[in-house]
């Protein structure tokens, strides 16, 4: 019997030694714990604290307009709203932990805004912003409506805030809710951080897998579908420009989309969220590049990189206002969508195949 095992063993070794050219995978670029450290230090933590400052500024401007009801205050408030909205684009993808639990994303950025709901909340003065029915009546899109959409010009809009306090009360309530949600998420990271950094396993609830899934989901839904597909009419027979993110302000849909895209690229490539400097250790790209045995431009890590670049070039060339772009030349808008879509295929098919993320829904025998 021993002889038998020995023969088998030798046979295996012969077979195995035939192919020894590939190097083993474990290395710094593949290490899940540095990956999580990088995600926390270079993206989540930075993004959240920048965002908190910006959203606090919106709160201050609300106080300003309360004490000084002028066009100048309105303009300042709008500026801070845009800055905070841009900062939001950097962190929307991190729908994990407390953020997921309190529906942070839904409370911050569901669009199109439900204007009828906003108006009825304003006039009744009684509402519960934690109620899911009010998700589309708060957050940045609601502010967009309250700052640009409630009158046909700036004077008319300002009038709404001077006539009585109902609009002012509502915009303050919405902003306060945004600030307090942000505080909840940031405070929770203080304790969640350790659990997150140590959750390197490959199972349905590990941080590595949740983040990869969040990233893909955000790219496909939050970015591709919400910002391009839905308003462009990919999922309906006709274009729906009223579904553009900043439908009432109208001038910044492209900059907002680019902020989001830069965050996506930084996350994928392994670059600091604000400085754009490439950091050491693992990133999504480094892991994929290592896992794929193909070389050069065929390597999946490089392929995704190239397709992302190509998509960005198309976005840059679009009108500042997506409403204008859709109305003047929707084909160009849809071609941009297609370029974004090509990355979805690489992420959801090629990347998920290589990562073999465990979802564990049911038994499988691999067929």
């Amino acid at each position: 019997m021993k002889k038998y095992i020995l023969t088998l063993f030798i046979l295996f070794n012969i077979v195995a030694s035939c192919d020894n050219t590939e190097t083993d995978l474990i290395g710094p670029s593949y290490d899940r714990s540095t990956l999580l450290k990088n995600w926390y230090n270079q993206h989540i933590n930075i993004g959240l604290s920048v965002f908190k400052n910006k959203v606090d500024m919106v709160g201050e401007m609300i106080d300003l307009i309360k004490s000084e009801k002028s066009i100048a205050s309105l303009v300042k408030l709008r500026e801070e709203h845009l800055t905070a909205w841009k900062a939001w684009q950097k962190i929307e993808m991190f729908n994990i932990g407390k953020a997921e639990e309190i529906y942070f994303k839904s409370k911050m950025n569901v669009y199109p805004v439900n204007t009828a709901r906003v108006e009825s909340n304003v006039s009744s003065g009684s509402y519960d912003l934690s109620n899911a029915n009010n998700f589309a009546a708060q957050g940045f899109p609601a502010l967009d409506y309250l700052l640009y959409g409630i009158g046909s010009n700036d004077e008319e809009i300002l009038e709404k805030y001077t006539n009585d306090d109902r609009y002012l009360d509502y915009i303050k309530a919405v902003t306060d809710e945004m600030i307090s949600s942000s505080e909840k998420v940031i405070n929770d990271w203080e304790t969640y951080k350790n659990e997150f950094l140590n959750s390197t396993d490959n199972n349905a609830t590990s941080a590595v897998n949740l983040m990869v899934n969040d990233f893909i989901y955000y790219y496909e839904k939050g970015f591709r579908a919400n910002k391009f597909g839905i308003p462009g009419g990919v999922f309906s027979s006709v274009p729906l420009p009223e579904n553009v993110e900043d439908y009432f302000g109208r001038l910044n849909s492209n900059p907002l989309a680019l902020e989001a895209f830069d965050a996506i690229q930084a996350f994928y490539e392994g670059k600091n969220l604000t400085t754009g400097v490439t950091y050491s250790g693992a990133s999504l790209r480094s892991i994929i590049t290592d896992l794929d045995t193909k070389e050069g431009s065929d390597n999946l890590g490089n392929k995704i990189s190239e397709k992302l670049k190509a998509a960005r070039e198309k976005i840059v060339k679009l009108d500042q206002s997506f409403v204008n772009q859709i109305q003047s030349n929707n084909n160009k808008f849809l071609q941009t969508y297609d370029a974004i879509q090509e990355v979805v295929v690489l992420l959801k098919v090629d990347m998920l195949q290589l990562l073999s993320i465990n979802v564990d829904y049911v038994d499988a025998d691999g067929d």
């Binding site: 038998y4 396993d201 979802v359 038994d363 025998d365 067929d367």
Partner: protein, 466 residues
């Protein structure tokens, strides 16, 4: 001429004398008890994980096997089918009304498997096939409640009864082994390379061994050699112990590595049928003592001991089972009737003991087009299907076609028949993704059949082998 007749005669003589050979009935009883218990466990496990609800009650849409579209989950009553299946497993275990119990088990289990092909697993097919076979075998000849009722028990059964179970198990292993003789498995260690690498979180071996290239090849080749040799090692008494050790080691290893449910338990148990009947008798004796300890009243029961169990209509049964085995042997080869790469188009892939051979990921959306106005829009399947259904649908052509028809009906009106196109990409065994379905074919016009699906685009690569 006379030589041919002579050979014919000698073959038929051999068969005749073989059908007259006998073996201990304890082997069949042992198998019956183990099988029944494992099935009970497997149903409890399935239920307690909430899968009945998740797989059969929550989804609005179910994928059917061609020809079995009429078999669907029946709402809350689906639980009843599982209860029936569970009770019949219990009855099989104790050997009460064995014939009715095994027929009920076969029908209820197979019904469950046919409700939605999303859940297709080779080991479920194995259970269905095996329970069909068991209908014709006297598994209640001894150590059964039926013996007490009928006041008869038998010590010997025809040898072919136990052998036919062994034959089915051998077929499973050998066909699984043959299927591994392909260039992806042997030359690229695919898809094991992907799966093993992703197990970096396993203690001790995960970060080190499973990342090694030679380990991937070792396990691919080892798996192939294991499948092809284990039936012979089990049959031959001198290597049986080694074989069983290998079986236990191999299946426990797969249990740790892959989410394959009760399959390892079933295969480990099944291989024990190759042991000598003395072993089975000893186990039964052990069980008997335990029962006697707790239920002394059993001493009062006595059954008449009869030596040979005579199978009624043995000729007919042997004919049916011969046909069954001929089908088992030929069905896995039906893929040769289809052009192109089997792992890619999967026509003839199921019901062939092709286990763990492909890692496939797909992404499939559907375009609904109004032929008159030319306007179109994209439908995201996750609005209609469960996450698991989406995953399975995205890379299997028959699923894609069936769902395209569902959408076609959904979006067509009385006056207007819309067109449905698939926007589909699939990656296979570490290859780059490529377009899977011809985007210019209106799938709503295509019919499901056994004919080759011409709208599946060919794989831009070749996988050599069986």
């Amino acid at each position: 001429m006379w030589m041919q007749t002579e050979i014919k005669n000698s073959i038929s003589d051999n068969i005749k004398s073989y059908t007259k050979e006998h073996t201990q009935s304890s082997t069949l009883a042992f198998f019956r008890i183990g099988f029944g218990l494992l099935m009970c466990y497997s149903i409890i496990r399935f239920w307690s994980k909430g899968w009945i609800q998740e797989l059969y009650l929550l989804p609005d849409f179910h994928f059917s096997y061609y020809g079995f579209e009429w078999i669907k989950p029946i709402g809350e009553y689906t639980y009843l089918i599982f209860i029936v299946c569970f009770i019949s497993s219990l009855l099989i275990t104790i050997g009460y009304k064995y014939k009715i119990a095994i027929i009920t088990f076969f029908l209820s289990f197979t019904y469950i498997e046919l409700m939605d092909k999303t859940t297709y697993l080779n080991h479920y097919y194995f259970i269905s096939s095996l329970s069909f076979l068991l209908i014709f075998l006297p598994l209640n000849a001894t150590f059964s409640y039926d013996n007490i009722i009928n006041r008869k028990k038998y010590s010997k059964v025809p040898k072919w009864t136990a052998d036919s179970i062994k034959l089915l198990i051998c077929i499973v292993y050998i066909y699984a082994g043959l299927a591994k003789l392909n260039s992806d498995w042997l030359l690229n260690a695919m898809p094991l390379k992907i799966w093993l690498t992703s197990k970096y979180d396993l203690p001790i071996i995960g970060e080190f061994l499973l990342q090694k290239n030679w380990v991937h090849y070792l396990m691919s080749w080892g798996g192939m050699l294991y499948d092809l040799s284990i039936p012979f090692l089990l049959i031959y008494s001198r290597t049986r112990l080694l074989a069983f050790t290998l079986v236990v080691f191999f299946h426990l290893f797969t249990l740790v590595l892959f989410p394959i449910g009760v399959f390892p338990h079933i295969m480990i148990f099944s291989s024990m049928i190759f042991f000598s009947s003395n072993f089975h008798s000893k186990i039964l004796e052990y069980i008997r003592r335990i029962i006697m300890m707790s239920h002394k009243s059993f001493y009062n029961y006595s059954s008449k001991k009869i030596e040979y169990y005579k199978i009624e209509k043995q000729k007919n049964i042997i004919t049916i089972l011969s046909l069954f085995f001929i089908l088992q042997l030929t069905i896995p080869f039906r893929y040769n009737l289809y052009p192109g790469e089997l792992f890619w188009h999967e026509q003839g892939y199921r019901f062939s003991w092709r286990v763990m051979l492909i890692e496939k990921v797909g992404y499939t959306n559907f375009k609904i087009k109004d032929p008159e106005s030319g306007s179109s829009f994209i439908v995201d399947p996750s609005k209609y299907l469960s996450q698991f259904q989406v995953k399975q649908m995205s890379f299997q052509p028959d699923f894609i076609l069936e769902f395209a028809h569902y959408l076609g009906k959904e979006f067509s009106t009385k006056d207007k028949k819309i067109e449905v196109y698939a926007d589909s990409f699939v990656a296979l065994n570490g290859r780059s993704s490529q377009r899977f379905i011809d985007p210019n074919v209106d799938l709503y016009k295509e019919k499901e059949s056994f004919k080759n699906k011409t709208w599946v685009l060919p794989l831009k690569d070749e996988i050599k082998g069986i």
